[in-house]
Symmetry: C2
Subunit: 383 residues, 2 copies
């Protein structure tokens, strides 16, 4: 954490984002949902997907490639399935609607599956399975994403980071909650390496010559030029299982694009020549009513027992703890509730600028002390 | 391929396995199904899971830990879900029933999900999604497995190789068909390294000291002793994404054990002290009726277009081809239909022994030339 970071109250930060969405023309109830998805990311410690990405959504609404007003339409619906066209609406909103629809269907008909097309970036994939878990269900969410990942034996970014998230209730204090990209890593991690001045480990990226570059700053430039790609989980080639990560990545692409009748691959770049165009992402949501299979108590006990058996198994030397998916995030939420969410200096500047630009009201952030300070900060930013 | 390998007709090899199952007391229609799953593995070139594992099933039936007669019972059923207790029956058989049930439910109700508990090794995971694909559906299959994989920051084998298989129809000559363990590799691969006298690459296994051993022969001994484990996809630690493979592995464990009300982890070892006991595996099958989402033609075209975009993307230097999941297997099937299935010398000896022991009839294999040669081979084997 940067020494200039300031911890702010999560509810106040949530309110800031909500008011920002409203200022862009998003109806208040919809803004509330979007802010909830974003603040959940900050609470879980996934800083790349919360307030850190807020401005991106604002910019895309300004560019006209995300609609602030929900334009989703139902393409096809049965008692346990649906296909939604998001109409370039805010991804968080449509995804929340879609997972809620899957949950509602699963309540009545055991299972719900909802495919979404023509959507936009929906924040953390792991938000949506949590909705199912809170309803005593197993939840699964998938999304495709703009091209950044090369297939096995390829060097061109034709696949997205294509995340998978899976949640299951347990009898522990937290559910099992997996939220992963099917690439080895994502661009945000390389940005962290670049900021820290550390090399990117081999095995994460590949350039057009088939080498695995380690110069983090150079890599960021190469991503923009399209001359470097992220590698699928398992790395380059097949020796360490790269074809498996690549295969899972394409599985996600098929579920999100083919089942929704939507777009895929290079068409998700958000660019047409120099012009920004909608990203046209696809998502796929699954809700499974556990009681349709086994009593929820049995399910929770078995899932919890699996977690305990793993946690109590022999640790690798130098490690005193084995984590379960969702455990670090659960602990981070507890901590952030007490300590607040850290906002670093450059993010403070972005927020000061947004507050001014969107003419937002008062917020209890130290760096919003008064209009004078806001103005000073803002001037420094543009200096 | 060993120079002593002989190619045999796949239908004759299939008949050999079917007759072997029948000799063990498996009813003919059930033996037919089991032989079909096994020969499909040989046809796809997954030699570890076909005739190469046939004797294991025979031995387990002799040990009384697999029932030759199907004892599956329905635990719970709804219009689109089911839980089956396999009663230690042949895994191939129960899995085929379970996927067929999921398909039947999906025909009527868009989706089918079937969980199975107390099952046994079901052969290649990729057989079952193919059944769905042949019905214009998306098919997904999962299984847990005996413990052999260590979690991230752990060194004890508490997880199975826990495979995921996913199949989707396309407008290409073959479907997209992914069939992978969620570990970096499986024991069979280390056996190949040991036979070839080549070291095991770092990144595939871990010992109790947290090192990644490369002595392939030593590794095989360590697996038996429980002093080495396979690593999850992504390798040790989190740097290259090992926590992702580990998380996917546990996801499979939860789907297969918790949704079926079944066993998990160390309880799947098949051993109680020195005594063999049933493996009590769990499986989970999903069939998705594509027409419930989009017209099948649209789905096939999009899936095929995804495949073509990837295939035609820039290759890594030294590679002239990018494969899609299922492509190598499709080509292998074509080749084996023409050339037959290779059976190496040690497998020939095993088959000669089994033929004698199970008192099987005549088969058109060169190494089964007549009773005399069979006897000679068999004597040499035990010499």
């Amino acid at each position: 954490m940067s020494p200039e970071s300031i911890h702010v109250d999560d509810q106040e930060l949530r309110r800031f984002m909500k008011e920002g969405f409203i200022a862009m023309g998003v109806p208040a109830p919809d803004a509330d949902i979007c802010a909830d998805v974003l603040i959940e990311s900050d609470m879980r410690g996934i800083k790349s997907h919360g307030i850190g990405r807020f401005k991106m959504y604002i910019d895309r609404m300004k560019d006209g490639i995300i609609s602030p007003v929900c334009r989703q339409t139902m393409v096809k619906e049965t008692e346990n399935t649906a296909v939604i066209d998001a109409g370039d609406s805010l991804g968080h909103l449509v995804a929340t609607h879609a997972m809620q629809l899957a949950i509602d269907k699963a309540k009545e008909h055991n299972i719900g599956m909802v495919a979404v097309r023509n959507s936009t970036h929906f924040g953390i994939c792991g938000y949506y399975p949590s909705m199912a878990v809170n309803n005593n269900m197993v939840g699964i969410a998938f999304s495709n994403a703009r091209p950044s990942v090369a297939p096995t034996y390829g060097v061109e970014p034709v696949l997205g980071t294509n995340p998978i998230s899976f949640g299951a209730p347990s009898d522990e204090v937290y559910p099992f909650l997996l939220d992963i990209a099917t690439s080895t890593t994502q661009r945000g991690k390389i940005e962290v390496y670049a900021r820290e001045g550390t090399p990117t480990p081999k095995g994460l990226t590949i350039d057009l010559a088939g080498n695995e570059p380690t110069d983090s700053k150079a890599l960021l430039k190469m991503f923009v030029e399209g001359t470097a790609s992220l590698l699928p989980l398992g790395g380059a080639g097949e020796e360490l299982g790269g074809h498996k990560g690549y295969g899972l990545n394409v599985m996600v692409e098929i579920l999100c694009a083919a089942l929704s009748g939507g777009s895929f691959g290079k068409a998700l770049s958000g660019m047409e020549g120099d012009r920004h165009i909608p990203h046209r992402l696809g998502h796929f949501f699954v809700a499974v009513n556990i009681e349709s299979f086994v009593p929820i108590g049995i399910f929770r006990a078995i899932t919890g027992s699996i977690m305990r058996e793993i946690r109590s198994s022999t640790k690798a030397p130098g490690h005193d703890r084995i984590y379960l998916a969702g455990e670090k995030e659960f602990e981070m939420i507890e901590r952030r509730r007490k300590e607040g969410v850290p906002v670093n200096k450059s993010m403070q500047d972005v927020m000061i600028e947004l507050k001014k630009e969107l003419k937002l009201g008062s917020f209890n952030f130290p760096f919003f002390a008064d209009d004078t300070s806001t103005l000073q900060n803002s001037q420094r930013l543009s200096a």
